[in-house]
């Protein structure tokens, strides 16, 4: 009887949960148990604090499921047995299907009007990609391989799907850590950006009121996604999946001919893909892959990437302010990191702190959506070098 009970206990996940089989800094730890605790912390932050709940709930639950010992949800198929559920769902991430589909949904929900009304704001979106390359350099110095450094650097683009897409192509073993760093910092944009904006701008610059943007015609909005796709993908084919899907989604919206498709993409498809993407990304955060010294380095490099991206945008904003004779508020450069529309809302709030009659949101939306295109182009460049 005792042997039966002992056999039963050894076959349960509970027994395996308390095994100290994960080594971190030379100490053996119960890795799965720690990861389950981290997953529960993320669930708390998502549900109770409301930090990026649409993504953090599936990510945290994916993390929870994959760390349940013996459940085999991420197990590869063998000759005799099928793989785990998450293994098959993860193929959508691994094969680069979900991130471009998310881009399709983002495109269908994006208004490029502010960008079309002020095309030079695209340059602010380009300057904010500085964080990607500075971090890439830093990661190389810290001993990461080039593809790993590129995947870490892309966190600076502040664009979740782009970061996931590039990481699955270049360094899939870092997917869990990079996804968690990227989405955590995106939720923390209102905390990270304001001090950097204040540090780099003068009170006089912060109160600058910008002229109202011109109205953009429907024809311009329809031509834009087609022209951008043709030009960018012909120049940089490796950015084709992301740019193509983003612009397809936008063309579907701007055409005005298929409202049912727009509604399906903006609502149902977006949420369905978010669940699959989030769950499978979380499933890559197993104890053996996540509890490593590299994860800490990625988290530190991630915040540097965000900070440098913000600084790059604001500094170019200052240059444009000088060149335009004080007509451009340099704070809008901070919105050049994608994080749509969070970064633009931060600029709006900061602007109103110094001048309550200042409405910068639509001006900041230009660099904000430019940042989405910029980070996709930067990802294409890195794929060109390292794929």
């Amino acid at each position: 009887m005792l042997e039966i009970l002992q056999g039963f206990w050894e076959s349960t996940g509970l027994n395996a949960l308390f095994q100290c089989n994960t080594e971190l800094f030379g100490v053996n730890l119960p890795g799965e148990l720690i990861m389950i605790a981290i997953a529960c912390l993320f669930l708390y932050l998502a549900i109770h604090k409301g930090y990026e709940p649409y993504l953090l709930i599936p990510i945290a639950f994916g993390m929870l499921l994959v760390n349940l010992p013996l459940a085999g949800l991420m197990a590869s198929p063998t000759e005799t047995e099928n793989g785990g559920l998450l293994y098959y769902l993860y193929l959508g991430t691994d094969l680069g299907i979900y991130p471009p589909l998310i881009f399709l949904c983002i495109g269908a929900g994006t208004d490029f009007g502010p960008l079309l009304a002020n095309p030079r704001s695209l340059l602010l979106g380009a300057a904010a990609q500085l964080g990607i390359f500075v971090t890439f350099f830093g990661a190389i110095l810290l001993g990461f391989t080039a593809p790993e450094a590129a995947s870490i650097g892309i966190i600076g683009g502040a664009d979740g799907p782009t970061a996931l897409y590039l990481t699955t192509k270049l360094a899939p073993h870092l997917l869990g850590a990079i996804a968690i760093a990227a989405y955590s910092y995106m939720a923390l944009v209102p905390v990270i950006q304001p001090p950097i904006i204040r540090l780099l701008t003068t009170p006089k610059e912060r109160v600058i009121k910008m002229e109202q943007l011109r109205q953009v015609s429907k024809a311009e909005k329809i031509v834009f996604p087609i022209a951008v796709t043709l030009f960018t993908v012909l120049l940089l084919p490796s950015a084709g999946s992301l740019i193509g899907m983003l612009m397809l989604g936008n063309l579907i919206k701007e055409s005005g001919r298929v409202p049912n498709l727009v509604s399906a993409i903006q609502d149902s498809l977006m949420y369905i893909i978010s669940i699959f993407l989030g769950m499978t990304v979380g499933a890559k955060a197993s104890a053996e892959m996540f509890l490593r010294p590299e994860t800490l380095k990625i988290i530190v490099l991630g915040v540097i990437a965000f900070g440098m991206g913000t600084a790059g945008g604001v500094l170019l904003g200052k240059v444009m302010c000088k060149l335009s004779g004080g007509k451009i508020n340099p704070m809008i450069g901070a919105a050049g990191v994608s994080a749509v529309p969070m970064a633009a809302r931060v600029v709006q709030k900061e602007g109103q702190k110094y001048n309550p009659a200042n409405f910068l949101l639509m001006h900041a939306m230009g660099p904000n959506v430019a940042g989405v295109i910029g980070s996709a182009v930067a990802a294409g460049c890195l794929l060109l070098f390292f794929q």
Binding site: D111, G113, P114, L115, L116, P119, R120, L122, L123, G125, A126, A127, Q129, L130, I132, F133, V134, F136, F137, I140, L141, T145, A146, P147, A149, L213, Q215, V216, S217, A219, E220, V223, F224, A227, V228, F231, T232, L235, L236, P341, A344, Q348, Q352, P356, F359, L360, L361, M362, M365, A370, I373, G374, V377, A378, C381, L382, L384, F385, F386
Partner: protein, 117 residues
């Protein structure tokens, strides 16, 4: 193009080339937008003379417009303003109600609504 291990020199090349390419692509897109706007405006100007004539004709009867009974609108506006200010409608005098043509983008409207709250 490059392997897993690269030198600092190669890393610098990657950074400079990629950042330059991002700037060039986005700058080119910005000029493409200018070109599109120019072509669209030129097309609109060509169509304008045809549109202007009927617009003038339609505008003519405007001075003879009849006075509309706005009582319901006045009551609703007064009630909404009173509710927002937390006072009685007796303290509010509605002098005129004008419909403002909406020329703002949805982002601008959202920011205005946020700042009112």
């Amino acid at each position: 193009m490059y392997g897993d291990i690269i030198t600092m020199g190669q890393a610098t090349i990657v950074c400079v080339f990629s950042l330059a390419l991002v700037f060039i692509v986005l700058l080119a897109i910005s000029y493409m937008i200018d070109l599109t706007a120019y072509i669209v405006r030129k097309g609109e100007k060509k169509q304008d003379p045809k549109v202007a004539a009927p617009a003038k004709a339609a505008a003519a009867p405007a001075p003879a417009a009849t006075v509309v009974d706005d009582t319901t609108n006045v009551v609703l506006a007064a009630a909404a303003v009173a509710a927002y200010l937390g006072c009685s409608t007796d303290q509010i005098v509605v002098k005129s109600i004008r419909k403002i043509v909406n020329v703002e983008t949805s982002w601008a409207q959202k920011s205005r609504m946020d700042s009112v709250r």
